[in-house]
């Protein structure tokens, strides 16, 4: 049974209550401490409360780095507020750490005067030395600029659990919930949602359930009854459009998009994939959804993943594959095969940092060139990019639409930041989703494998259809008949035709919209996951009267038809990217505009303030 904490509140502690429009809180500890779990719980609770949210989990690349070390620190950042949020937040307003290593790693991100809650039990000689601290930071004055609260979490958790019969080791695993309880108190959120979840989650193990809920309540009560912490935050619910909501991250949204597209096309979904960070979750999510006739194929490698999808597409189902940049490198010959055979295929690239294995769990936008041109010869495909976690749903639907409507591979670029980031998603009305009318030649129709329609699209004739037996493959084909053909003129004709077919997609996509004035001094142009940071920065600058607008590209090949026109209406164009200037180069080459790059490649997203600062520099204080 769940006892509501709300009912027996006994406030004895006079606290300062700080009202804020939004707060950035980060919880951090060792990767074995269950930080992601409490992060998710805090996210649930705040979103159910009605705040807008944006989250950023940050976990080590190694599954089990040595406990207590800097490499083993796992963190979860939650930004919640009473207004629309675009990013997980630049600077941390409140940090809760379970060990010294977590303190050290996160210190650089704190705002001055940040609230700091530390588990003082972990600041032992061993703990400090694992975190490479010579002096105890709790005692050497180095934290003087922050409001530090020392809480003996290990001791208090053990005390709370003493009647549960759990062994000491198991009890020590409950301290994350003690910390979460304290966080709930700090932000005046009820622990009820989490208590209900625990009830269900640990039903099979009553002792663990009891210990976890005792720890959670102990953490909450500690704030409530002890005189120690004398500050609390209050953040009112946000004004959000009415409707039913759920939380979604970019990978879930992409998986939903694939399923929805297949359903709306009346087709089974085939998803061939090889596990790779940060894309594996799409495969996992899809493998659960068999009742939608989703056929997942965990292939032996990236190449098998894409070529199986090509076979599936030839057979007439909606076929997709998902991976990250290194996987796309392996798939590139396969993508070329789908280009020349002109088969619908969706390739989701959840980008990550670095060439080669790089920084597998960190984010980057380094694969734009790879998406546009990373194949041998002239092999144009359609390239899209999602702007936010929930936008992955919409753009995946778009990718599927274009692939089937134009008989072409489509690559959707997501990234680690979008795949991990969670935001509220207003659940769409299913009937409002597009319905895809897929045409397959029927017996009696005139059929030639490469006979094109007015959009230059060839027919999708399915094996099993009598009379339409045909052979396709990687060799150049004669247009119309599809026979193997080595003739020079035909090859050039086919290369140009494949390119023009991709260009024809532009007629079916929305034009590029401008946020702010339609023309002026400075346009900030972005693509992909920088949308949140760019929009927040530009909005803030505009509120301060700076003459700046922004535009965001979701379609990168073909570009929206009015792209050149929009760029031409501004004197200068600033392109922030998490790479060394790929969109900048592309835009300069395409439109001969003097676009200026603002680039960062640290495996981390932009902070709003970084872009804001860059805009200020460029405008040099000029107002509109």
């Amino acid at each position: 049974m769940v006892v509501s904490m709300e009912k027996n509140r006994t406030q004895t502690n006079p606290v300062e209550v700080v009202n804020r429009e939004d707060v950035v809180v980060r919880m951090a500890g060792d990767s074995g401490d269950g930080i992601q779990l409490i992060g998710t719980q805090m996210t649930n609770t705040t979103s159910v409360f009605g705040n807008d949210i944006s989250t950023l989990p940050d976990y080590p690349a190694e599954i089990r780095a040595p406990a207590g070390t800097l490499a083993g620190v796992s963190g979860f950042q939650l930004h919640f507020g009473s207004h629309r949020l675009h990013t997980p937040g630049d600077r941390i307003n409140a940090l809760v750490v379970l060990n010294p290593a977590a303190l050290k790693v996160n210190l650089p991100d704190l705002e001055p005067g940040c609230l700091l809650v530390v588990n003082e039990d972990a600041f032992t000689e061993i703990g400090l030395s694992k975190a490479a601290y010579d002096e105890n930071p709790l005692e050497d004055g180095s934290l003087d600029g922050y409001r530090v609260f020392r809480v003996p979490m290990d001791v208090l958790t053990a005390e709370a659990c003493k009647d549960t019969g759990l062994k000491a080791r198991a009890v020590s695993r409950c301290k994350n919930f003690f910390a979460l309880g304290l966080v709930y108190w700090l932000f005046d959120r009820s622990p009820d949602t989490t208590l209900r979840w625990m009830d269900k989650k640990f039903r099979a193990n009553p002792a663990v359930a009891a210990a976890n809920s005792a720890s959670l309540k102990a953490g909450y009560n500690f704030g409530e009854t002890k005189e120690l912490i004398n500050v609390r935050f209050e953040v009112a619910p946000a004004k959000i459009a009415p409707g039913q909501y759920r939380r979604v991250n970019g990978n879930e949204a992409a998986a939903f998009g694939l399923i929805a597209a297949a359903q709306r096309a009346g087709k089974p979904l085939f998803y061939g994939s090889y596990p790779i960070t940060p894309a594996s979750e799409i495969l996992q999510e899809l493998s659960k959804q068999k009742r939608f006739d989703v056929r997942t194929f965990q292939a032996e490698d990236e190449i098998a993943a894409i070529t199986s999808a090509i076979g599936a597409s030839f057979t007439g189902v909606l076929a997709a594959t998902g991976t990250s940049g290194p996987g796309v490198a392996l798939k590139s010959e396969g993508i070329g095969l789908a280009v020349i055979t002109e088969l619908p295929l969706v390739i989701i690239n959840v980008q990550r940092a670095g060439p080669s294995t790089g920084l597998p769990t960190k984010t980057e936008q380094g694969d734009l060139f790879q998406a546009l041109w990373g194949r041998n010869s002239e092999a144009p495909i359609c390239v899209l990019a999602a702007a936010t976690p929930s936008d992955c749903f919409k753009m995946t639907l778009e990718a599927c639409r274009i692939a089937m409507e134009f008989m072409t591979p489509v690559m959707l670029l997501s990234d680690s930041y979008l795949s991990n980031g969670v935001e509220p998603w207003r659940i769409p009305d299913v009937e409002s989703l597009p319905r895809f009318q897929i045409k397959h030649p029927k017996p009696g129709d005139r059929f030639e494998p490469y006979l094109r329609d007015e959009k230059l699209v060839r027919p999708w004739a399915l094996p099993g259809t009598k009379g339409f037996q045909h052979r396709i493959g990687g060799l150049e084909k004669r247009d119309v008949t599809g026979d193997v053909c080595q003739e020079p003129e035909n090859h050039e004709h086919m290369c140009r035709t494949r390119r023009r077919k991709i260009d024809n997609i532009a007629a079916t996509i929305p034009s590029l919209e401008v946020n702010g004035d339609e023309s002026g001094d400075l346009l900030v142009l972005g693509w992909g996951s920088t949308y949140g940071a760019i929009t927040a920065a530009v909005d803030r600058c505009r509120e301060r009267g700076l003459g700046v607008s922004s535009a965001h590209l979701r379609y990168l090949d073909p570009l929206p038809s009015n792209t050149g026109d929009v760029l031409g209406r501004f004197e200068r164009v600033l392109v922030p990217e998490i790479n060394l200037g790929q969109l900048t180069t592309y835009i300069r080459a395409k439109f001969l505009v003097d676009a200026v790059g603002f680039n960062k490649v640290q495996g981390k997203p932009f902070m709003v303030s970084e872009i804001e600062h860059e805009i200020e520099e460029m405008l040099d204080g000029r107002t509109s």
């Binding site: 009742r291 194929f297 490698d301 057979t315 007439g316």
Partner: protein
């Protein structure tokens, strides 16, 4: 069973496409194409329900010459394309045409995994022990020491043996035949096509241009009786026109002369249905010139196919009816904003 009477108009001819085969004169591929068409007719295969998928190499041109659905893939990946086809429409009969370079070198990984999954495909591996299309480099099945354009001093690669590999991956159907032994080839192809699961057939195929006579021992009239042994289920391994046989000595095969006290009953009896693949593996290790090379079906066992299992899970999941997007989107926690 007369459920599927073969219609009289299904002759080998109707499976030919309008494209003229363009292999070199004397290439073993011609014979395989002819036998495949015969088998398709014999099985009553519908052209529209048949798909031939190939990789890259001389033999991989095969699909262009058949009036079925066909996919000429990229190097080494035919098995995956075929897997995608089969999983998407299990009613199709799916054949894979591959070679020693395609299946064992660049596509080696896929061969192992396709076989272990037991996808219902019929895989024809044309083994000519050379790279023909790229004009004569040694392949993963070329014998040690073979001089080719890329091994002028002799290859220092030890070869792979396709059947040992397939059996190692626990293929449910494994067989070998020879391009010129047309009746045997046809028979083996038919059995392979009828097998449910991955059927793997190694075909000794002569490349008359770059590796002529690689299989002289098995093809030539004067030698073949002594250098090959034809396997029959439940029958002793007898060759050399009944004069010799294979006997097991402890764990090893040995050649014995029949007569002089050695009877057929003393010989190794073939059992293609043995679940344990050790016997089949032992046969795959019998190689010319030490031994006569076995021809025929090494192994033929039943195991659920990958495609059946995948579709079975979907059917189970849909037992309570198909999924609804409305429910999918509402899995987990939701909340309503008024």
């Amino acid at each position: 069973m007369s459920a599927n009477p073969v219609s009289p108009e299904l002759t080998p001819k109707i499976y030919a496409s309008d494209q003229e085969p363009r292999w070199c004169p004397g290439c073993g591929n011609y014979s395989v194409l002819t036998q495949v068409k015969k088998v398709l007719a014999k099985l009553g295969s519908k052209r529209e329900n048949t798909v031939f998928v190939s990789g890259i190499g001389c033999s991989s041109r095969f699909p262009y010459y058949l009036d079925t659905y066909g996919f000429h893939g990229i190097h080494g990946r035919a098995m995956n394309i075929a897997t995608g086809v089969k999983l998407s429409n299990p009613d199709l009969s799916v054949w894979v045409i591959t070679g020693d370079g395609d299946a064992l070198s660049i596509g080696g990984n896929h061969l192992l995994h396709t076989i272990r999954r037991n996808v219902d495909l019929t895989i024809l591996l044309f083994n000519n022990r050379i790279y023909g299309l790229t004009k004569g480099q040694y392949s993963p099945t070329s014998p040690f020491g073979q001089r080719t354009k890329s091994s002028p001093a002799g290859s220092v690669d030890f070869p792979l043996h396709p059947l040992s590999v397939a059996i190692g991956a626990e293929a449910t159907f494994v067989a070998r035949s020879l391009d010129v032994n047309v009746h045997h080839l046809e028979h083996v192809l038919e059995r392979a096509a009828r097998h449910k699961g991955t059927s793997f057939i190694e075909i000794y195929q002569n490349c008359s241009i770059f590796n002529d006579q690689a299989f002289y021992f098995a093809r030539a009239k004067e030698t073949k009786d002594d250098t090959t042994v034809y396997l029959e289920h439940d029958r002793p391994l007898v060759f050399a026109k009944g004069r010799k046989g294979i006997r097991l000595h402890r764990m090893d095969p040995e050649i014995v002369e029949l007569g002089n006290g050695v009877k057929e009953d003393d010989l190794l009896f073939h059992n293609e249905t043995q679940k344990e693949p050790s016997l089949a593996y032992l046969l795959s290790r019998m190689r010319y010139p030490e031994f006569p090379e076995p021809m025929g079906v090494f192994r033929c066992i039943e195991r659920p196919t990958y495609d059946d299992l995948v579709i079975g899970q979907i059917e189970d999941a849909q037992e309570q009816g198909p999924g609804h997007l409305e429910d999918l989107f509402r899995e987990g926690e939701t909340w309503t904003v008024e």
